[in-house]
């Protein structure tokens, strides 16, 4: 059982280290992972779905705001900052950087730039999402082995 848990932890470490090497995640992710000790074993497995829901909801709201005429750049600004906050807080480095690009387009009131930046954010999120799903699966298996 202990060997299985160790093997699962190693798999998790490999995935996260690979994502870090690609710049997709940063050290904040491991810090958040370490918070399991102060919370519950399910902490990360619960947090990641919350994060995904946050991103999807905010992206939907950003798209809707951008589609309206005239574009409400104040709302775009607030939504972008919300997305930047949650992506940086979980360690999703490339997503957070993509939010900065969106912020610049919003600040310049550049609608085409906003559209392009939103596409980049969607792509970055899709890239990250499959790895996050794998991480959640591993976390759940680790917790069930430890139970």
């Amino acid at each position: 059982m202990a060997a299985n848990t160790e093997a699962l932890n190693q798999q998790l470490q490999q995935i996260v280290n690979s994502l870090k090497e690609q710049g997709i995640l940063d050290s904040q992710f491991w810090m958040v992972h370490s918070l399991k000790e102060a919370s519950s074993p399910f902490f990360l497995a619960q947090l990641i779905p919350m994060f995904c829901h946050n991103v999807q909801t905010t992206l939907r709201d950003l798209n809707r705001t951008l589609e309206k005429e005239p574009v409400n750049y104040y709302d775009m600004n607030e939504l972008t900052m919300k997305l930047k906050g949650c992506t940086s807080s979980i360690g999703a480095r490339r997503l957070a950087l993509a939010c900065v690009t969106l912020w610049r387009a919003v600040d310049n009131k550049n609608k085409d730039g906003c559209g392009s930046a939103l596409n980049d954010i969607r792509q970055e999120y899709q890239t990250l999402r499959s790895s996050l799903d794998r991480i959640v699966e591993l976390e759940r298996r680790i917790v069930s082995h430890q139970a």
């Binding site: 050290s27 904040q28 370490s34 918070l35 000790e37 946050n54 930047k84 906050g85 807080s89």
Partner: protein, 145 residues
């Protein structure tokens, strides 16, 4: 773009004298943040650092806590929140005579935005994400007062 942190030696606001912290009891922290995910992360992080944490999901909840007689050694507050934002909440708390350390934690990183936040009465302001280094710096500053 502003650097990651402002304050503790570069304070823009006229903050009041900090109250004396009893180092024998746990440091009490109020986290003021509307985003559930970030609130959860900050709560567990501050708990891991051995503090006692209470939560408020906007500035009005924070002000109401103090009006009801609560007090905290440290307030970590977001800037943008519904109902009452971090700037308004900080101004109200300082006008009520609250001398707790108030630290802003925001996604915004433009000079003008951070300075406006600092002017409301913050002791310091950090750009998200809140990490171990920033928390350590805040708690060390608190203990050294």
């Amino acid at each position: 773009m502003v650097s990651e942190k402002m304050g503790f030696g570069n304070v823009m606001s006229t903050s009041k004298t900090m109250k004396i912290i009893d180092t024998e009891k746990k440091i009490s922290v109020l986290i003021v943040e509307d985003d559930l995910l970030i609130r959860k992360i900050h709560k567990v992080m501050m708990t891991k650092f051995g503090t006692e944490v209470q939560l408020a999901s906007n500035g009005k909840e924070a002000v109401d806590l103090f009006l009801s007689g609560a007090s905290f050694d440290l307030i970590l507050t977001d800037l943008e929140m519904p109902i009452m934002d971090g700037i308004e909440a900080t101004k109200q708390l300082r006008s009520m005579g609250v001398t707790s350390m108030i630290v802003g934690v925001t996604s915004r990183n433009q000079d003008s935005e951070i300075q406006a936040f600092m002017k409301s009465g913050l002791n310091a302001c950090y750009v998200k994400p809140l990490n171990a280094e920033k928390v350590t710096a805040v708690l060390n500053e608190l203990k050294n007062i």
